[in-house]
Symmetry: C2
DNA sequence: GCCTGTGAATGTGTTCACAGCG
DNA sequence: CGCTGTGAACACATTCACAGGC
């Protein structure tokens, strides 16, 4: 199966494997089997094997996958082997929470600067990150930042995205409830927590 | 195509259509076409038509879909036509942000109580929602709550999920980076922002 | 002429079953 | 004998193309 196109769903699961590998590396073993890893993550063993096989032969028959090696390979594939700097725009409730959240660091991603339009917030520091005036976003060009997080209210995301892109950002995590139109070169991943929450009742049998 | 099984991906998009419909209802028109709606949401017209057709004939050829009617139908399908009460567990950064976030209300979901283990937080009110001691979660049984949000640190989600389920919760939005094992009757939707963010560099061409 | 609804065709992802290595 | 890697079978989702209603 070498050299076949990697399914997007496989890419989506790569960070999940990283999460599992991190867990097992804190435990004991040198090796994990697809079965053990899958069980921990709540998926099937053959899915794990198939996913990993897209990138070459990663494991050893009869033994499993070497935790450390697989972690490194996985990080390299996701380009998480080098540090990525990120900018966050919109220091509201969600934006502040994201700033305070340490979870990105474990993947080698660091938020180095934030922007907001509210005078009350500009100049302050949240979790060690300086909040600057949104009208100074052009300065981003000077910095080595390739990722952006948009956590502004609905309706405002498109113009922020445009600014981020013209400031050289290559990938955007969009937390606003807006569809944003971008050039093909730019990758957008959108999360709308309210939308995900809203489909939960569908699955609940009538009370 | 009547009476065929509704694809999960279609259900996932229903709240998206609701988002679009809300936008257009604030504008002018009685009707929207699949083309207009699709363009606003960043998807294809035929996807919109196919999705909606699973639930019967919703539109009028030559005219489009009636905004108000489609909104009502959509809400009924998602069971968002009645109010749902929710509980949130874990009033950290993310949990507080979610409490303060108004976005759920527009879907008819209301967080009515929160729990945390930190004495500093217990007894306080965040955005009008009282924070109670996590050891009192059994009291949930008394209330009419069917949804739960888990926003505790990684590693703690499973035990919280167990408690929520034994307190009668039917659906869980899991924001913690944990896989949680639940009975078949219970629906879990998991969001791991860090994980989604972490696959962004994969799509960015080498700098 | 415009727009919906939908079978058919296509594309994509998952699951299976097993050959082959350690 | 356990576990990986993978073609093949299957399941699911998207896209197309167009018949038919307004």
């Amino acid at each position: 199966m070498r050299y076949r196109k990697v399914p997007d769903e496989t890419v989506r699961r790569l960070p999940l494997y990283l999460r599992g590998l991190r867990f097992f590396s804190e435990q004991s073993p040198d090796h994990v089997s697809s079965k053990i890893l899958a069980e921990f993550l709540g998926i099937n063993p053959w899915q794990v094997r198939k996913d990993l096989s897209y990138f070459g032969e990663m494991g050893t028959p009869g033994v499993g996958y070497k935790v450390k090696t697989l972690t490194n390979q996985n990080q390299r594939i996701l380009r998480l082997d080098s540090v990525h700097n990120a900018v966050l725009v919109g220091v509201g409730n969600l934006g502040s929470a994201v700033l305070a959240y340490q979870g990105f660091r474990t993947y080698g991603i660091e938020i180095v600067v934030a922007y907001d339009s509210s005078p009350a917030k500009i100049g302050s520091k949240i979790n060690g990150v300086e909040v600057k005036d949104i009208s100074e976003m052009w300065q981003l060009n000077e910095l080595d930042i390739d990722l952006g997080i948009i956590s502004v209210p609905g309706g405002a995301a498109q113009s922020i995205a445009d600014e981020l892109i013209s400031a050289g950002i290559k990938g955007i995590l969009n937390l606003a409830p807006d569809y944003i139109r971008v050039p093909k070169k730019i990758k957008v991943i959108s999360i709308d927590i309210a939308m995900d929450f809203a489909r939960l009742p569908y699955y609940i049998p009538a009370s």
